[in-house]
Amino acid sequence: MGRVAIVGVGVSKFGVRKGVSLRELAFEAFREAMEDAGIEKDEIQAVVTACASDEFAMALQPAAQVQDYLGLNPKPHFRAEAACASGSMAVRSAWMTIQSGLADIVLVNGVEKMTEVSTARATEIMGKGGDSTWEYAFGMSFPGYYAMLATNYLATYRESDRSDLAKVAVKNHYYGTLNPKAHMQKIVTEEQAMSGLMVAYPLRLHDCSLISDGAASIIMVSEKVAKKFDRPVWLTGLGAGSETHDIGRRKSLTSLESACVAAEQAYKMAGISPRDVDVAVVHDCFTIAELIAYEDLGFCGRGEAPMLIRNKETYLGGRIPVNVDGGLKSKGHPVGATGVAMTAEIVKQLRGECGKRQVKGAKTGLSHNVGGSGQFVAVHVYQV
């Protein structure tokens, strides 16, 4: 079996993109990815578009809107949906499409327009990311699920405390200021993060990622085709897993089993260990999620994530820089776009194009994308 490479990436500006439609957002990322790859539109043989919610899109077929507006008819396409992991599942589907021999050049789009609805409505749409019959009935919001993980985590590992969550927000907001595409370009202090508006106890405003509009696109190609490109980045490890829909049925509330199995598969396939990762983007939809990700990905042992952030090991120059693009926390989290944007970021890191946020000499990268509160997880390993 040959390898699969990423040869072009594009990301729209993330943020409250008033006056821009879903399909127009997708076009911004698509145009950039096409220019980056330097290919003609006719060369694209298949398309996968990630978009998480009909309710945000206010359309049954957001992928069809995108396909048509990008001028890609009559190329085969479909929509990938796996909640907040939709983007990474689209990347995974494109990998399968190429490896099956059905196509050599595949375009992956991820897009979400979340800010046309009110915060209360968005909270409701996302709240049904849990079990809409058995859990949503208790007024559960999406932050609520991660808040449950946080109370359990902080009680299980007694040396950890809420300031460790705040430190994740401080780091990711700092790196957001180095990313011109990020939704928020604002430093947050630990004091601010500790005292912000309570969203779902113990998670405060700065523990939560942003409701954003945004899009990302990448061009993936077979090894045969990749030879024609100067700087292919190889997708060498893929892993995915699932987890109980009801959070009450989990064996552990300090870890996502889905992420652990996904990481194990991805490392094994790439033939690497966690120590070999030079740069990672992880799914920090909430600060607690980033701490749990450190442990699920094997960047540290169980209960050691607070020490990792306290010692700044996940900053640039640390042992394993994580989310130095600002993460979902300050870059924003347009759900369907997130996984594709993660891939785009790692590709740029491995090409050495990240400027002030560049991890020097990075050769191996990783993305960790969680859907729901762990119901879907995809981990990818990238190498140059």
Binding site: T123, T133, T156
Partner: protein, 146 residues
């Protein structure tokens, strides 16, 4: 869709009897007759052995709190409508919500009324019980055991 009054939404399901049991004061789960796997929330099908032969059984009421939160920014269904008095602000203090482990493998979600999240600790001993709301609907609440 009718979640408004914090009660469970159970209409089109084979385990709708759960709501009737709740009204009788019982929190019920199901157990597979073939492989004994227990399910809460209840299921009419066994995801482990694929059987559809299930028995109802009553969950123990007492257990320990394994996780909790207090959702202050509420989903639209639960949020207050805007007050009609000009220059006024409606303030809503929702109850905390918790997960209570009443036996191994059985964890129940419920409201924890009349307290704030700061008053709670993971590991608190609590008792779960069905609770009838003013409008006649039934939900689940936890009370601290002294």
């Amino acid at each position: 869709m009718d979640f408004k009054d914090f009660s469970l939404m159970l209409n089109e399901t084979k385990v709708a009897a759960y709501a009737d049991f709740l009204a009788q004061g019982k929190i019920m789960a199901t157990r597979c007759k073939k492989c004994n796997r227990e399910y809460y929330p209840p299921q009419s099908d066994c995801s482990q052995c694929l059987s559809k032969e299930m028995d109802w059984f009553e969950c123990p009421a007492e257990g320990k709190l394994v996780a909790f939160t207090q959702v202050m920014v509420l989903p639209e269904h639960f949020a207050l409508p805007k007050p009609s008095i000009p220059f006024s602000k409606a303030v809503l203090t929702p109850s905390p919500v918790g997960i209570l482990e009443v036996k191994e493998g059985i964890r129940i979600m419920g409201w924890i009324p009349k307290v704030m999240a700061d008053d709670l600790k993971v590991g608190d001993r609590m008792k779960a019980s069905p609770h009838t709301l003013d409008d006649g609907r039934v939900t689940i609440i936890f009370k601290k055991l002294e």
